[in-house]
Homo-oligomer: 446 residues x 2
Amino acid sequence: MKQADAVVIGGSAAGLPAAIGCRRRYPQKSVILIRQEEQVLVPCGLPYIFGTLGSPEKDVVPDAILTNNNVELVKGEVVEIDREKKAVSMSSGDTIGYDKLVLTTGSLPVVLPIPGADKGNVFTANKDLIYLKNMLDTINGARDVVIIGGGFIGVEFADECKKNHDCNVTIVEVLPHCLQLALDEEFCVEAEKVLTERGIKLLLNSKVEAILGDKQVSGVRLSGGQELKADVVIMGVGARPNVELAKKAELEIGPTKAIAVDRYMRTITDVNIFACGDCAEKYSFFSGKLSRTMLASIAGAEARIVGANLFNTRYRNHGEIGVFSTIIGEQAFGCAGLTEAAARQEGFDVVVGESTAPDRHPGGMPGAANTKVKLVFSRDNGLLLGGGVSGGKGTGEIVNIISACIQHWMTAYEVSLFQMGTHPALTASPIVYQMVNAAELAVKAM
Amino acid sequence: MKQADAVVIGGSAAGLPAAIGCRRRYPQKSVILIRQEEQVLVPCGLPYIFGTLGSPEKDVVPDAILTNNNVELVKGEVVEIDREKKAVSMSSGDTIGYDKLVLTTGSLPVVLPIPGADKGNVFTANKDLIYLKNMLDTINGARDVVIIGGGFIGVEFADECKKNHDCNVTIVEVLPHCLQLALDEEFCVEAEKVLTERGIKLLLNSKVEAILGDKQVSGVRLSGGQELKADVVIMGVGARPNVELAKKAELEIGPTKAIAVDRYMRTITDVNIFACGDCAEKYSFFSGKLSRTMLASIAGAEARIVGANLFNTRYRNHGEIGVFSTIIGEQAFGCAGLTEAAARQEGFDVVVGESTAPDRHPGGMPGAANTKVKLVFSRDNGLLLGGGVSGGKGTGEIVNIISACIQHWMTAYEVSLFQMGTHPALTASPIVYQMVNAAELAVKAM
């Protein structure tokens, strides 16, 4: 029987940093990472296979990161965890013993429980190379693509499907707006404008009731009765924690259907088993309430806590802030923490500051994109609760600055004095730098 | 006699945010901004006039920002401050009374005290439109450009002069490396490689002893005796605070030759007169020692403190962190806080973490640039002291994330758990995200 000090099940956004983190914190400990996949796909890269990248092979995480960090890779499927013997059994019949076990079994895309969901050419964002190859071939030959769900995955798939193909793309979203769960309404409207300009048809407040066709999909029917032609349907309606293995091992599953963990990322059932990433229960950084946000970046942050805590308790998980970004066409969108709507819903007396300026200076510098930053503060104590950004490609790192400020509980007063660096070809001007101006305007309004 | 609650002298990177900040914090107070210039130039944009922008008119700060914020603009030169009468006199003979006065008289480029420095076609980074027009015409006709000083200004001028012109550009730097006062040596070497690849000649450890020629410059002589041909010489050897007006008003000038101010940004001589930006004395965020760092972004942060403190003391200036970024060709460089060398010089027991990865993911995403982040921590308490970055255009905002983390005294432990957001087209992957990996490696080395 093989044996390692730490065994990690899963090799993606949580498994890799957990394994590497363990090696870094405990260089003397042996680490085995077990995964089913021949090759691991970059999860957030999935939509880009269908346009920008052009093939699933270009969306692969290189295994060098494991060998470089001296993590042993075992390919195969774990079918059982024997918690008494502290060993996992593989479908091959092999067993691997552990001192500490880490579950990073991720999530599976939700398939809507509607008639016809099992028809041919109905796809989800499935992280499997062969599946994605078939999906790509099908989309390459498609005329009418219907995407169910206007969240990040749906919107990104839509934009990418439009890039290389002369096809009709329609997003059907049950809520009043695309991206509504992540962004404030004004940003959603802006994103919808870009999508529409790019030739994507949006059906908002609309629900798909059935998928039509014989063996293969030929269309969808909306709840109002309207039918849309479709030779491909993509469902981007969320993901559910993959907890089969944990259930079988009788690890407690929490109310969000994810593995229940404590703030040190240990399963609450077994002190020797940790869980992180999409399969593990999450808490909001703000309210401490259970959260269903699944992001590769949250998985990574949790995994780093796991890696550090495996043999000594070191870090507490302070809960997920939730930092998103995306780009549609040339316009990026992002947010960190609570949206204004979410903050109000939580009962905060909210003060908002907004500032828009080019992300280069002077504004005539090549590549300048007007970039808007909206910051949300609590009136009572000035605390930064969240922020939304839309504009140029710097958006991806600007939301990260906002996240850093949230994480250390900065107030509007402090953000208004933020010492940023600026450069004509890289950032907004120091005079109009959006974050400090948004914060200053919020202070004025307090 | 005109009268305002607040009078700001100077209309650039410090004057504008001071005036606007005052309006925002004290909406009922009247604000007059007095400036000499017909039009104000974006100070950091100066080098870009000579390549990317192509004319000084394209580097102008729009005056709309004043009218939009209800700040009255007076054009003219202030020749005297009467502190007794609380009024300033203009060269036109007009006087303007104030309750609170803000000096943002900026800095003047240093002219090396060497023979020939007054010859024709010897230029500095002078923020004057007519001067710059003449400078541009001269450079447009030049064959041999010699730049004295390999700091940010010198390097940026060199890169820009090369962009639109078929001319020979040589940088003469007295130190062993270009950019050495701001970046650690490995980044300097990288920057020098890019400069050299772009056809710029570097003479390091070299000192210009004299500027040669009759009325017009024809060359320079180095201290070793070597002569270089030059039909244009640009001096980028720093700036000195412009404190003439303050001296005349008998405001105390400190050891760095800047106006002495307290931590609330009031001149130590007169409680009704504030100063900020290049003309005001600065302190290091780290040691509290006097500092000579002059940056538009520092000016802005100080000015926001002044704006808030004018009629009520609200904020303390915690000292300058120093956040720089630049781009040479397609490669950006930046730093925040202390370099490794500076931290060691201050006596810190330093732990460094470094991480390099593409700034898109997977690495095959278009526009991906390998980006390196180096973080410097204190071993004793884990505190983040500074960071250097080189790579893609995200560098400008990545140094700002580092600055946010420094400003709130984050430790390596905290940075290693930083909750960033990631996106294939906008940032590095969550697994290899450089800041958290650099921090995790530093923790490992502690």
